[in-house]
């Protein structure tokens, strides 16, 4: 807790927390990037799970650059939010659940990306891949839910304010 309290008193943490523009633009960027990443994952996940089979899977590879750019924005904005309130997130088990679900979902996306790169134009996902696609969609729902619940379940907001 002392480490958190010391960090919260650094000029960078104070700026992120107390400058309304810095905090809300970081939060907004986080939501925008999440919306785009999850959205693209939903499109790929649904197609792999068997929905809208007329969509050629290879066509979806053009979304990779946008997807990974937004994933980078999630990481950077997430670090910004963590700098503002380190104790709030790092003392809450839900934060780790969100982090794990998000990481595994992104790894699955990468796995699908590699799998599609090794296939020709006419590819059909195997039952195993369909199951993995459904798992990826569930992981994104867990990520979103854990993220929303973070705002309601923290037991410490600022370590420096604990008496």
């Amino acid at each position: 807790m002392e480490t958190f309290a010391r960090f919260e008193n650094t000029p960078l943490s104070i700026w992120f927390r107390e400058s309304g523009v810095a905090f809300f633009s970081t939060l907004t960027l986080h939501s925008l990037a999440m919306g785009l990443v999850v959205g693209i994952n939903i499109a790929l996940g649904l197609r792999l799970a068997g929905f809208a089979r007329s969509i050629p899977l290879q066509g979806l590879r053009h979304f990779y650059p946008l997807h990974w750019f937004c994933a980078l924005l999630i990481l950077l904005s997430g670090i910004g939010l963590l700098i503002a309130y380190p104790a709030k997130a790092l003392t809450n088990p839900l934060f780790y659940l969100k982090l794990c679900a998000l990481s595994v979902a992104l790894l699955l996306y990468r796995y699908f990306q590699n799998w599609m790169a090794s296939q020709d134009d006419e590819i059909n996902p195997t039952p195993h891949l369909r199951r993995l696609a459904i798992i990826m969609l569930v992981l994104w729902i867990i990520t979103i839910t854990a993220g929303r619940f973070l705002a309601y379940t923290h037991w410490v907001l600022l370590a420096s304010h604990l008496s």
Partner: protein, 169 residues
């Protein structure tokens, strides 16, 4: 107005659910899932209209749109739950009003698309550029949905009574 909305919320059980231990965050989570469904279906279709992933035929991608409608309905439902439970926090909030304006523009834009451009757009083969009008419509649509996310995030920031803008009087 506020009393009517609160009465509706209380008589339908929404108020009780939203004020339960986890009611509000559950509704918020569903709201964001709905928004991601819209981005993943309508947004991806918009990106294709704008020229991304040309190898994907527009007709095939359009098959995802009904799921976007499902996401939209989920968001209208959860949005009504927020609004009727705390109407004073939403009715006079400039971020909510701007969000609703962007939703309205997105709605009109979509109606315009189906009335004027949808048939020609669906006929666009893979690797071909969508018609110019469809590209403009796609750009407006995606911009509106991203603006909806931004405004939604700013609702907390512009919570009344601290931010009373002239159009909220």
């Amino acid at each position: 107005m506020i009393e009517t909305l609160l009465e509706f919320s209380q008589s339908t059980g929404i108020y009780g659910f939203m004020n339960s231990a986890w009611g509000w965050p559950i509704a918020e989570s569903l709201h964001f899932v709905g928004l991601c469904l819209i981005i993943g279906t309508v947004g991806v279709f918009d990106l294709r209209l704008m020229g991304l992933a040309k190898a994907t035929p527009l007709k095939a991608l359009h098959r995802l749109v009904p799921l976007g409608v499902a996401g939209y309905l989920l968001n209208v439902t959860t949005g009504i739950m927020f609004l009727t439970t705390a109407p004073d926090q939403y009715l006079f909030n400039p971020a909510v009003q701007t969000k609703l304006l962007f939703m309205l523009i997105a709605g009109i834009n979509m109606l315009f698309f189906y009335a004027t451009t949808a048939t020609a757009t669906r006929a666009t083969p893979a690797l071909a550029q969508a018609p110019l009008r469809a590209r403009v419509i796609g750009t407006i649509s995606l911009t509106c949905w991203l603006a909806v996310i931004v405004c939604g995030r700013l609702i907390t920031y512009y919570r009344p009574p601290y931010h009373w803008y002239f159009w909220c009087q």
